[in-house]
């Protein structure tokens, strides 16, 4: 896992990112562009059938076999409370490494489409206003404008853990 992280880092330099800039992979959900730290991206793969896990929220699509590792898959669309899309050959899963409970885990997120890679200076990342609604502001690391477009940088550690963590607490209680 760490080796792939390193690879990502090398690629990072290979792509000519200038010092002081962070790279973000962006993806589309309902015509909106979201960004995640590219160093967290393990791989991008097509959708394949998952094994549902009983008694979990609908947005947890189940687990998938990723070269011998059992990886949970989460539908970000449903996570944001949007109506689900029919899965097809074009459906994309981004496998991310998430830090929770002091260790690294792998999780796959289902998105509408992968968009682009942007370089953003940390200063250009503006704190998010109170958004209200489904996407609570603690899941948003910040907003950035790239090529006149709005990129919502999400805090995947928070986003993917908040509900799952509370579930764990529930299970333990």
């Amino acid at each position: 896992m760490s080796s792939s992280m390193q690879n990502a880092e090398e690629n990072n330099f290979g792509m000519g990112v200038s010092v002081g800039e962070d790279q973000y992979l962006t993806f589309i959900i309902a015509q909106e562009e979201y960004g995640v730290d590219i160093l967290r991206v393990q791989e991008i793969k097509g959708w394949s059938k998952t094994t549902p896990i009983p008694n979990t929220p609908d947005y947890i699509k189940g687990v998938m076999n990723l070269r011998g590792a059992i990886v949970p898959i989460i539908d970000l669309r449903e996570r944001f409370g949007l109506p689900p899309l029919e899965y097809g050959p074009m459906t994309v899963v981004i496998v991310l490494s998430v830090f929770s409970e002091e260790r690294e885990r792998l999780m796959g997120v289902v998105v509408d489409a992968v968009s682009d890679v942007y370089n953003v200076k940390p200063d250009d990342l503006k704190p998010a206003p109170d958004l209200g609604g489904k996407l609570r502001s603690e899941f948003v690391k910040g907003l950035a404008t790239v090529d006149e477009k709005l990129m919502i940088v999400i805090d995947i550690d928070n986003l993917l853990n908040s509900d799952e963590l509370s579930l764990i607490k529930e299970a333990n209680a």
């Binding site: 059938k49 998952t50 094994t51 549902p52 896990i53 009983p54 008694n55 979990t56 189940g62 687990v63 998938m64 076999n65 011998g68 590792a69 059992i70 990886v71 949970p72 885990r105 792998l106 999780m107 799952e164 579930l167 764990i168 299970a171």
Partner: protein, 866 residues
Amino acid sequence: MSIDTSEFLDVLMEDSLEALSDMETSLLDLDNGGDDSELINTIFRGAHSIKGGSGMLGLDEVAGFTHLMETLLDEVREGQRKIDMPVIGLLLECVDALRGMFAAIKEGVDNDAVLIASLVERLTATLENREPVMAAPAPVTVSEPEIPKPDLQPEVQIETMLDEPLGFAEAPSEDPLLDLLDLESAASESDDDSTMNALLAPPGDFVTPGWAVQFVPDHDLFLNGFDPLDFIRQLAKLGGVDAKSDVNVLPGLARINPEQCYMAWDINVVTDVGSDAVREVFSPVASQCELIIEPLQEAHANQLRAIIAEQEAARKEQTGQDAVSYLRETVLGESSCDAVEPVMTAEDFGVTEEPVIPPADNETDLLSAMVPPPAEDAVSDINDTVAVDAGELVSDAVDSVPGSESLSAGQTAPAIEIEAPEVEATADSNAAPVSEVPAVTEVPDAQPQVKPAAKPKSKAGARAADRKANDNGGSIRVSTQKIDALINMAGELVITQAMLAQLGEKLEDSGLQEIEHLRDGLAQLERNSRELQDAVMSIRMLPISFAFSRFPRMIRDLATKFDKKVRLVTTGEQTELDKTVMEKIGDPLVHLVRNSFDHGIEMPQDRLKAGKDETGTIELNAYHQGGNIVIEVIDDGKGLDREVIIAKAREKELIGPDEQVPEDKALELIFEPGFSTAAQVSDLSGRGVGMDVVRRNIRDLGGHIELESEQGKGTRFTIRLPLTLAILDGQLVTVGNETFIVPLISIVESLQIQPEHMKTVAGQTELYHLRDEYIPVVKLNELFSIKRHNHSGAEHDLLVVVEGDGKKIGLQVDDLLGQQQAFIKSLETNFKPVTGISGATILGDGTVSLILDAGAIVRLSSNSGT
């Protein structure tokens, strides 16, 4: 020349702890009236190898302590002392104390000085046949002489270590090279220094009177048709030659390969030709030998010239006699004037089968004396008879050098580090001239122990790597047989794979006619993979004797303490189970055995009154049964009293005051938390860790425990455990579109649902009437909220009756598929624990299947029911 001893410490620890276990077992056998002499020898050997090893690494306290034990054991072995209960008890305490010492060394803390001092005093007192003076124990250091450290001259310590003085101990040289030189100097009747200088002094500006040649041929010299003697003859043409053979690495007779050249030569040539001419002589074998040519010192050369003249004369008389016979002469000549050191070395090798070396046999002894442990490559065309003589003596001797394994492994320069264990051996064979085979029983690397340290550095590196590996996760000693089997299977797998690959190419060419072969190949591949998998799994398997071994001692100690008479019978110690399972089952077993002892076995007088043998029996059995291991703990004690148990459970409010408990459920109450039947809290049981913990531990391992008891006759605990935690045998079941795995160990039976046997309670809870039982039914599709498309109705459903947490429930499923071994993967690695699911596995088609946790589902269903 010092070595880093810390590298050997781990090895020593492991070996020592093993030796201690052996000693303990033997002591207990002795206690039970086992065969005396063999057992005593085993104990003696254990003490001896610990002493040797710890002395070598400078663990003076341990070495001194074991020395006392050894002295005591030696008296026993010699028949001077009877081994009786007090002695056995004392020795057992010593074994414990040694374990403590090793633990202290490992932790880097101080020893329990008071305990050790008192034991030392008791040992000394026993040795001196007096009562121990407990008030003023002898200082530990008095009886613990310093043990030679590798960089010290050991002979001084030897004197203090032995009760009787060493007859022949004199300073051994600090370097094997000096040994050679000594021999040589004796032969040439010159003094050590000049000889040493001749070889060690760097080449000066002076014109050399000759050359000192060190010739170390490769072992396969003979195979290439060369005779070392030819080269010496060639050298002799250049001038006067004094050749000395070095038989350092000559193996024992049993291991000797007559086609190998094991020896080396030091040859002094008095000549005026240049070193190139000397080198020229050896040019045919230049690539097959190590050759060192150094100038010979003038003074030495002069002395040599005289001797060589004599020797030349002698050689003419003995035409055809080879270099070794000559060597014998040289050595004999030396033995008359200064035999001290070679004899010392001979003793080093623990010329074990010969307690007293007959003086008449001097020549042979001296020859064997010249064979130190694995040192430099050395070769000689030794005379056959001499080879036999030396070989006989040396073969056993070399094996018995304590720590020879670690030495040969770690040896970078075969110098003084060898001396310490050697001198140890000397001391022992002097004090106790009977057979000794230090416990170099298991050689982790399959190489013969005594072998020239050809690649000492890489070996030492491997050892260091081993040690690192030990630091994280522990190690397993695996028998080479298992590894060989693995290697074979891996090979076959590769072949099968190649076969299929070839077939694939053919298929492309010839269409589908070859499909039969493909099927064969696949079948073979499947078989190979399965075998390989089994073999790999078996590496983690250890015989259960590892877990059983602690009980003989425990029972003995308990019996002594509580004046009970108990015999422990174990069967099936060779039954294998996973190391992880073994580690986790240890404590529950201890608890069960303690329970049997404490609550089961009665006092001898009570047993007699009850018409039983006054000695109680606790049985430990282990055997395999259908992919599980079964461990039984049986005692013939008083059994469990159901009335008492029920009364106790009421008192502890585990059951309601009026609650009726069926006969067969009463016994199960002892597994409830907070239950203890002991009238008094004894030293052993009833300290709060109850049977509930035992049961929980066993359940955590995926096993279960059953209990049978008959009042007055005894109790039997039966533990069933999976052989391993890494894989499980599972039954594939389908619910809707989902496939689940039910562990076979929890399945009681599977049956077709007869709708008329389905009963409903309160309109909700469904029960299935199975023979005389009503079993709650759990509909997996409801429990797991699975949509069932095209469901054909309950009458086609199957019921899988599983047992979890001691309760039975029926799982209603759509269909049963096959059975499969599942490699358990944790859901928690990337997700979180899911109630009712113990893990996941990957099916043949690459999809993930969830493994059901029968116990959790039982709990889940009973919760939802209330």
